[in-house]
């Protein structure tokens, strides 16, 4: 599809604006602890063991990774010194980094 990267950046960007507002609200204003800015195991765990929140957080992470890494890809593509082939390697590399990063983030929710 033409311009798939352009679409991805804009759609994930729009989604992130919504998700971030929600995230900021939940993490800073919902419980008394969090309102004071105290990060404790219990305060976080209380929310994170809920599978609905886990699903949202994982989706959030994946969307953020697509947006951030495709942004990083754009920065690399703006340097013609890497060449067209270098650009393909860079894209493949970033996809691998994204996959590992996503797996790492999802693994954080296991064994809680």
């Amino acid at each position: 599809m033409t311009a798939i990267w352009w679409w991805l950046q804009r759609i994930t960007g729009a989604a992130l604006v919504v998700l971030l507002i929600m995230h900021f609200w939940v993490e800073h204003f919902v419980s008394e602890n969090l309102r004071r800015g105290d990060l404790t195991y219990d305060a976080i765990r209380a929310r994170i063991t809920n599978p609905a929140w886990q699903a949202i957080d994982i989706a959030f992470l994946l969307i953020a990774l697509v947006h951030g890494l495709s942004g990083a890809r754009n920065i690399l593509l703006d340097y013609s010194r890497i060449g067209r082939r270098g650009a393909r390697f860079a894209t493949a590399g970033l996809v691998v980094i994204g996959a590992v990063w996503a797996w790492w983030g999802i693994a954080a929710f296991r064994n809680l």
């Binding site: 804009r10 960007g13 729009a14 992130l16 604006v17 971030l20 900021f24 800073h28 309102r35 004071r36 800015g37 105290d38 990060l39 404790t40 195991y41 219990d42 976080i44 765990r45 994170i48 992470l61 953020a64 990774l65 951030g68 890494l69 942004g71 990083a72 920065i75 990063w101 790492w104 983030g105 693994a107 954080a108 296991r110 064994n111 809680l112």
Partner: protein
């Protein structure tokens, strides 16, 4: 020097917007890495986790958190500006969009979040 300020504060401010977008983008990507690493530490159990994040209750970290808020707001608002421009709206007002929206509205939202954060966490220490 005066030439550069006049250039980048005026007709070439679009380039400043672009650089801000890239710099904040990379900073946020780095932050995401730290953030996932911290959440991963939940597996270590309550004592280890609380000790690890204990550092995050310090003044320096609270200030960095406020800076993070600034970076997020700048990146998000300027991203919205770019999307509006991509869609063909406001092409003739791109500079105003940067200064009044990305920077102006951005500063207001930043203060709305940063001041309570600052009062609740930094001043309390």
């Amino acid at each position: 020097m005066k030439d550069l300020i006049r250039k980048y504060g005026g007709p070439f401010s679009g380039m400043v917007a672009h650089l801000i977008q890239r710099v904040t983008g990379l900073l946020l990507l780095f932050y995401l890495f730290l953030h996932v690493r911290t959440i991963y530490a939940l597996r270590e159990g309550p004592a280890a986790f609380d000790q690890a994040v204990g550092a995050f209750n310090g003044v320096l970290f609270k200030l960095l958190e406020i800076a993070l808020l600034g970076a997020v707001i700048l990146h998000a608002l300027n991203g919205i500006r770019i999307t509006i421009l991509d869609l063909g709206l406001g092409q003739d007002r791109q500079r105003r969009l940067f200064w009044a929206w990305s920077i102006g509205v951005g500063a207001l939202i930043f203060l709305a979040g940063a001041i309570p954060l600052f009062l609740a966490s930094v001043l309390r220490r």
